[in-house]
């Protein structure tokens, strides 16, 4: 379970998130909508624990443990994982190095090969990570690393943006495996929080709850399909005045 309580976050001197509350129960996937610059990425980065994002107030509980001031890598080892929208190129560090890190003690030739195949990246094993990758390749590589990492909580920042139709099906398939969609609900433990701009991702994952974020606040919480329909019909301006 992920519990976010009264979270207020600043980047530099600017307060970006204000009093954010959210609960994701074990086995649930939630989606986060919101216009550009509303603070969605900031929320994900804060949950994951990137040091640039300073928690001024509130706390983050992960399976009951207060992780608010835990370093990034410790959160990763507790079972949090994130896909990057624009991951850095790390010269000389190969895809093999990354998958090996993600698989951790499960790293062996067979498992590495299996991961690469699942993401259609067999030929990328010795490539320098993200160097000269296309948009679709970056998405697939990010999801493949998550698949190898097997996090309990998966944080995804616009996984479908800039992906063509051929890739989106593969990405949907990877997502389902990461989030354990094929696993019966009562046994499902994987949790997800997905930022989506277009809502396309709703066709591929079972999202339980949706949120709308505006100017660093969560202004709406409810059925994700219903929220998406409202946004499509009336835009985010409606959310600003709507108080269901």
């Amino acid at each position: 379970m992920l519990e976010i309580k009264h979270l207020t976050v600043a980047v530099g001197k600017v307060e970006i998130l204000h009093d954010v509350n959210m609960t994701i129960n074990t086995g649930e996937t939630h989606v986060l909508f919101g216009p550009n610059g509303s603070g969605k990425t900031t929320l994900l980065m804060t949950i994951m624990g990137f040091p640039r994002y300073k928690v001024l107030k509130g706390k983050i509980l992960f399976n009951g443990k207060n992780v608010t001031s835990l370093p990034l890598d410790e959160r990763a080892r507790l079972g949090m994982g994130m896909s990057f929208q624009r991951p850095p190129v790390v010269r000389g560090v190969t895809m093999r190095d990354m998958v090996t890190a993600c698989l951790s003690e499960r790293a062996n030739e067979e498992n590495i090969r299996q991961m690469m195949e699942k993401a259609d990246l067999e030929h990328f094993l010795e490539r320098e990570i993200n160097y000269g990758f296309s948009g679709g390749e970056i998405k697939r590589s990010e999801l493949m690393q998550l698949l190898a990492q097997k996090p309990l909580l998966t944080l995804l920042d616009e996984p479908e943006s800039g992906v063509d139709l051929v890739n989106i099906a593969l990405i949907g398939k990877l997502l389902n495996e990461i989030l354990g969609k094929d696993c019966p609900i009562r046994d499902r433990r994987a949790m997800g929080l997905i930022i989506t701009h277009t809502g396309h991702i709703l066709d591929y994952v079972n999202a339980r709850t949706g949120y709308v974020m505006l100017k660093g606040r969560i202004v709406c919480e409810g059925d994700p399909h219903e929220i998406l329909r409202t946004i499509k019909e009336r835009g985010y301006s409606e959310c600003a005045i709507c108080r269901i």
């Binding site: 370093p71 994982g81 994130m82 850095p88 790390v90 000389g92 560090v93 890190a101």
Partner: protein
């Protein structure tokens, strides 16, 4: 770069006995030699061996037909023509170090591949400095005859008991038409040793010279600027170097290539890491003929410790129709990259080590796997010094 007073060193003129069986060397010496890629206990992955201790060659052998491994003096006795190659690729009066080697008549290896002969395994040569404070004067010649292929691994090292001393090494390479030479040199010195290699390479038509240089352990002072002249059409020279400067180490290292014939090519790649020492990383490419192409890449990484990296890439073009370029970057490890790896569960130290290992990974085209493995091993062994 600090001046070296060669008169302050003792002369190491004492002749050492010839060693038939190198496995009788002390375990410490053998371990040092192994660190620089010299395998003495089983030579089955080598097509020849040369070992010089201080100023005496103590062992030479060649195990492949068509490959010659001997001392320069033996070579001069055997072949009158060899004197024509002496001091042709390196000028004897370039500086006081070459002059010293000439005055002392420095001995060293003469390695030659006969026309069309291709070595399966590398020839290994080791220049070893035993204890004491003395000067080692070395003069080497490598000739790859037309159409031959020769791989050499050279390990230069000082013994565990070494306090100081100077290594002066003149090396001349002659790559004939269509021949290919890979020359992999691993250095392993001690904090008191000063090193002045002087290297010249002449590459003829369609010839290839590929040099890999690895220096990972402390050295008091190292200065070298090997030069290659691509004199034949489509001649190629490539230099890769990997340098790690720990506190107290001073290095001024570069490679120089003159593209003097149509279609000649070069690539100079260097990776420098400082954990407190100072590195000047140079590169110079001169294009003197049409349709030549050269690229210089120099990347430096400054880790904690207050070291300095000074990158000096230089290009000079004297005719139209050439293509020369360079890129140089000096900096620290990007925090964004460390965080990316940490988000995958590596701790900060592991993430940094992975990035450093990646930085030092230079893909070397045309290098036999056994030599690639030696470089990889040497780099890995030094990781603990960096972290």
């Amino acid at each position: 770069m600090q001046d070296i007073n060669l008169d302050s060193y003792a002369s190491a003129d004492k002749e050492l006995p010839y060693l038939d069986d190198l496995s009788t060397l002390s375990p410490e010496d053998k371990a040092r030699m192994l660190e620089v890629g010299i395998v003495l206990d089983s030579e089955n992955q080598r097509s020849g061996t040369f070992l010089q201790m201080d100023n005496t060659p103590v062992h030479t052998c060649a195990t492949q037909k068509g490959v010659e491994v001997m001392t320069i003096r033996q070579g001069l006795e055997k072949y009158a023509w060899l004197s024509d190659y002496l001091w042709k690729a390196v000028c004897k009066d370039s500086d006081k170090y070459t002059a010293h080697v000439e005055a002392k008549q420095g001995n060293g290896y003469f390695i030659r591949a006969l026309p069309g002969v291709k070595t399966e395994y590398p020839v290994q040569s080791c220049l070893y400095m035993t204890k004491g404070e003395s000067v080692q004067d070395v003069h080497n010649i490598v000739i790859a005859e037309e159409g031959s292929e020769l791989h050499i691994i050279t390990g230069c090292a000082s013994s565990v008991e070494k306090e100081g001393g100077a290594h002066l090494g003149v090396s001349e390479f002659y790559i004939k038409k269509g021949a290919r030479v890979t020359f992999t040199m691993i250095h392993r010195w001690d904090p008191g040793v000063v090193v002045r290699p002087r290297t010249g390479v002449i590459v003829e038509e369609d010839g290839l010279f590929l040099s890999n240089y690895v220096l990972l352990k402390p050295v008091r002072s190292l200065q070298m600027y090997p030069a290659a002249w691509c004199v034949g059409k489509n001649a190629t020279a490539r230099f890769n170097s990997i340098l790690i400067a720990t506190p107290g180490s001073e290095m001024d290292v570069g490679s120089k290539v003159f593209l003097n014939a149509e279609g000649a090519r070069t690539e100079i790649i260097s990776r420098a890491i400082t954990t407190g020492g100072n590195i000047t990383a140079r590169g110079y490419i001169e294009g003197n003929a049409p349709e030549v192409k050269g690229h210089l890449e120099c990347r430096g990484l400054i880790l904690d410790g207050g070291g300095i990296i000074y990158a000096v890439p230089e290009l000079r073009g004297t005719v139209a129709g050439i293509d020369l370029s360079h890129e140089a970057a000096v900096g620290k490890i990007a925090e964004e990259e460390v965080e990316y790896l940490m988000a995958r569960g590596l701790n900060r130290t592991e993430a940094t080590a992975t990035i450093v290992r990646g930085f030092l990974r230079v893909d070397i085209e045309g290098l036999p796997p056994v030599l690639g493995a030696e470089i990889e091993r040497a780099v890995q062994a030094s990781e603990q010094d960096v972290m």
